[in-house]
């Protein structure tokens, strides 16, 4: 009888063995909390800048209000890091070893403007109550300024940069993280970027934007219903297949095509466009709504688009085009975004893989 019991006990143990991890987890509950949903998260591009401001204020009360000053460079601890409070000269004091290594691991805090020499790696955050001016070929972790930020050529920003006024960067900069300014951002040719926000983002030395007239409805021809129009409810045309809109056309309402969509030059669309393929706008096209495509989007010269521009692949925006307007900022988002010098964007740009300021094509 005992052996029989042992036998059945063994059988039962054998049966339960694969369930042991599950039973242990059920009983001891090592991972029974709800998944984390950060309710306070609103995706604000300034999130890291604001958090750094709070961090500084916690350790150096009054620094954000400009009430902290230094007659000579002063060092101290800011969390785990060493900071240097830069005096009113605006030139950080770097040791010989830092000069030799072309690198500093101090958090630089400018009580006024900051002038940063070139060819350096600034491993920690740089803050200035005034403007920040950087030489060429610098690499930054993060920049925060109550005034303007001006970067020379070939600088890198690894994490984020925020200015309460304007940011201006030279040629061949690489802005990997978030870049935001409360007034304006100006980018020069061959600069790469990721995520940016400003009420006005200029590309190139001189913006040609706003020079082209906006097509007016009166001079245009309303497009006729395409043959493959499968639905026209809810102020929207749904077209099976590709659609090619001739130049100088007018359409009031939304347009959705199941394949490619192209809009001829100087046309006006009073609504949004969606293409389940490529979407091409000729020069001087005006779209009052959004432009969305699963494929590439090509925006020709001197176009005006009021709503978001979204592509699941690549967006190319030619010189002179204006996206959004000062009173109605908008978003451009794609895996890859190429914007020619001379274009102007009001609002956000989010290039998931590569944003690039391209020279004007001849």
């Amino acid at each position: 009888m005992t052996w029989l019991l042992i036998f059945f006990a063994c059988i039962l143990a054998l049966f339960l063995l694969p369930l042991a991890p599950a039973l242990i987890e059920w009983y001891w509950r090592s991972d029974a909390k709800p998944l984390t949903v950060v309710r306070a998260h609103d995706g604000n591009i300034r999130f890291f800048a604001w958090r750094f401001r709070d961090f500084m204020e916690e350790h150096l009360p009054g620094i954000n209000q400009g009430s902290v000053s230094a007659s000579t460079p002063t060092q101290g601890k800011l969390g785990k890091d060493t900071y240097q409070l830069v005096d009113s000269s605006g030139m950080p004091t770097l040791s010989a070893s830092e000069q030799t290594a072309q690198s500093t691991s101090q958090v630089l805090l400018g009580t006024g403007p900051l002038n940063l020499q070139g060819d350096m790696l600034y491993e920690k955050e740089v803050y200035a109550a005034g403007n920040i001016k950087s030489g060429d070929r610098n690499s930054f972790r993060a920049l925060l300024s109550n005034g303007d930020i001006t970067l020379g050529d070939a600088c890198d920003v690894a994490r984020w940069a925020h200015s309460d006024a304007s940011i201006s960067v030279g040629r061949k900069n690489r802005l990997y993280g978030r870049v935001s300014a409360e007034i304006r951002i100006c980018l020069q040719r061959d600069t790469r970027f990721g995520r940016m926000y400003a009420p006005a983002i200029h590309f190139g030395e001189s913006s040609r934007a706003n020079s082209a007239p906006t097509p007016q409805a009166g001079a245009l021809t309303e497009i006729t219903k395409p043959d493959r129009l499968v639905d026209q409810g809810a102020e929207r045309w749904l077209i099976a297949g590709s659609l090619e809109i001739p130049p100088a056309s007018l359409h009031r309402g939304e347009l959705v095509s199941t394949e490619n969509l192209s809009v001829g030059a100087t046309s006006r669309i009073e609504g949004s466009l969606k293409s389940n393929g490529m979407l091409q706008l000729g020069h001087e096209v005006c779209v009052t709504g959004a432009v969305v495509a699963t494929g590439n989007v090509h925006v020709g010269r001197d176009c005006r688009i009021s709503g978001p521009v979204v592509s699941e692949n690549r967006i190319v925006i030619a010189s002179g085009s204006v996206i959004g307007d000062p009173n109605h900022p908008t978003t451009i988002t794609a895996q890859e975004i190429h914007i020619e010098e001379g274009a102007l964007v009001h609002g956000s740009i989010w290039a998931r893989e590569l944003g690039y300021v391209a020279p004007v094509r001849s």
Binding site: L19, P21, A22, I24, E25, W26, R29, S30, D31, A32, K33, P34, L35, V37, V38, R39, A40, H41, D42, G43, N44, I45, R195, Y197, V230, D231, G233, A234, E235, R236, L238, A240, E254, L255, V256, T258, G271, S272, L273, K274, N276, G289, A290, V292, T294, S306, G307, P308, V310, E312, G324, H328, P329, T330, T331, T333, G347, S348, W350, R352
Partner: protein, 479 residues
């Protein structure tokens, strides 16, 4: 050429006498004939007993084959979705739209006896990051008998002009009817729907509205995350099941341009599209599925936003869970009967959407079909019809099904939990089998009731509210 084994089997069959006491071994004990058919597969079944004919068994055999094919299709679907989430290109096209001229929005919060949760939901909505002049919050008190009305009115009084309460005391009960009434008063271009137990984050409304800049989008669905995960085993199993449904199923459908489903809450619909398809149907038991398909048939897409997450409560008792899944099942099957035909005939829906749409409509029908398949398999076994599947093919089929088919849904859940970055809870996967069995039987029962009893007895499909636990679980979660 007839082999010795075939001869002996034929002898057993032909020399059959009606002696009831005669011992006849089960078919599994009888030596199987060597089949001359391809891979040992036979196309007809032979009965050992006169009580059931060869013809009847052959019909059953083909029905079983049908069930097996359907199971395999759904198995392949599970794998297709899961592998897409692991290795495919992920689509989040609207996630980055954070700056725009935002359209006007009405947030509808359906509430029936929600005194435990309504205040927190409304407070969270008042706190969202959305232009206040474009946001109308409309709690719908649907004939509550507790303090829901009082709480809503108190919050509305504290925020004049921001909350537009709707108190329903007459008319058809149920969420679809409540939404229908509320939509007539709503002024927003976009209608966002929450249940009263949902606690939205600050950025959620913008995230849910962003896809509507695409003129092809008619509805949007966010992700639901259980809040009372740790209450008991059931909530932990449901937490993993929800992960599988959203993190893998819905996102994979979004990735592959299939049919993501509007889920009735943490989602929204374009007002103009809703009007164009005739508004909410108050006779729909699953107004979410109903809406998804009506929009699809009119050429509107549903977008899924996997990173637009919101907490909800899941049932904490098995009876509540059974009632919930039976209601879902009936509602889903109702939609299947209504829209399967139109979907196949539609000229506005792509082939891939039709295929996925049909499979989605059939999800809840699979439980009774699977049970039916099991019954058929048992009958065929005991009536000696098992020789349709012999030899190495049977062995391979068994191994493949056990290794792949049987576990496809669990693989999906495990992948979802992995993608969520959870560590320990993945060990609970084997226990999900019990949840699966309960669902299987509940859905089968609901389908049976719906097809036979509801129809014969002319019973009306009724809305059944899932209970709330927040007050009861406060102390539990505080531990």
């Amino acid at each position: 050429m007839v082999t010795t084994a075939e001869s002996s089997t034929a002898l057993i069959a032909s020399s059959h006498t009606p002696d009831p006491l005669e011992f006849r071994p089960f078919s599994a004990l009888i030596k199987k004939p060597q089949s001359s058919e391809l891979l040992g597969l036979r196309y007809t079944a032979e009965s050992r007993y006169s009580s059931i004919s060869d013809h009847a068994l052959t019909i059953m055999l083909y029905l079983l084959w049908g069930v097996i094919v359907l199971v395999l299709v759904y198995t392949a679907r599970h794998y297709f979705f899961t592998l897409n989430r692991l290795f495919g290109k992920q689509r989040h096209p609207y996630l980055d739209i954070d700056t725009a001229t935002w359209p006007s929005v009405t947030v509808l919060v359906a509430a029936h006896n929600e005194e435990a949760v309504i205040a927190e939901a409304l407070q969270a909505l008042l706190d969202v990051d959305y232009p206040a002049d474009r946001l109308q919050i409309m709690p719908i008190n649907d004939r509550s008998t507790d303090r829901t009305r009082e709480i809503i009115d108190a919050i509305a009084a504290l925020h004049p002009g921001r909350l537009i309460p709707l108190h329903r005391s007459a008319g058809k009960p149920g969420k679809p009817a409540a939404l229908k009434d509320a939509s007539e008063l709503a002024t927003g271009e976009i209608l966002i729907v929450f249940d009263a137990d949902y606690v939205p984050g600050r950025g959620l409304i913008k995230q849910l509205v962003a896809p509507f800049f695409d003129p092809e989008i008619g509805a949007v669905m966010g992700r639901v995350v259980p809040l009372n995960t740790g209450s008991n085993l059931l909530t932990r199993l449901l937490d993993m099941e929800r992960s599988g449904g959203y993190q893998v199923d819905q996102q994979a459908r979004m990735n592959m341009h299939l049919v993501p489903q509007y889920g009735g809450t943490v989602g929204g619909v374009r007002r103009i599209a809703l009007d164009a398809i005739g508004g909410w149907r108050d006779d729909a038991l699953a107004e979410d599925t109903d809406l998804t398909y009506r929009l699809l048939l009119s050429g509107w897409k549903t977008a899924y936003q996997n990173r637009s997450e919101c907490y909800e409560e899941v049932p904490e008792t098995w009876p509540a869970r059974i009632r919930q899944i039976m209601r879902w099942s009936k509602g889903h099957n109702q939609a299947a009967f209504r829209y399967a035909g139109p979907l196949l005939r539609s000229d506005k829906v792509s082939l891939r959407e039709k295929f996925d749409g049909m499979l989605l409509l059939g999800v809840f029908a699979m439980s009774p079909i699977l049970l039916f398949g099991w019954v058929l398999a048992v009958i065929l076994f005991y009536f000696n019809a098992t020789n349709w599947l012999t030899g190495i093919f049977a062995l391979f089929a068994l191994i493949s099904y056990s290794a792949l088919g049987n576990f496809a849904a669990f693989f999906e859940i495990a992948t979802a939990v992995y993608l969520d970055g959870s560590k320990g809870r993945i060990r609970l996967i084997p226990l999900n089998y019990f949840g699966f069995l309960v669902s299987l039987l509940s859905i089968a029962r609901a389908s049976f009731n719906q097809l036979l009893l509801d129809y014969i007895l002319r019973r009306k499909l009724v809305w059944d509210k899932t209970p709330r636990y927040r007050q009861a679980t406060k102390s539990t979660r505080a531990e």
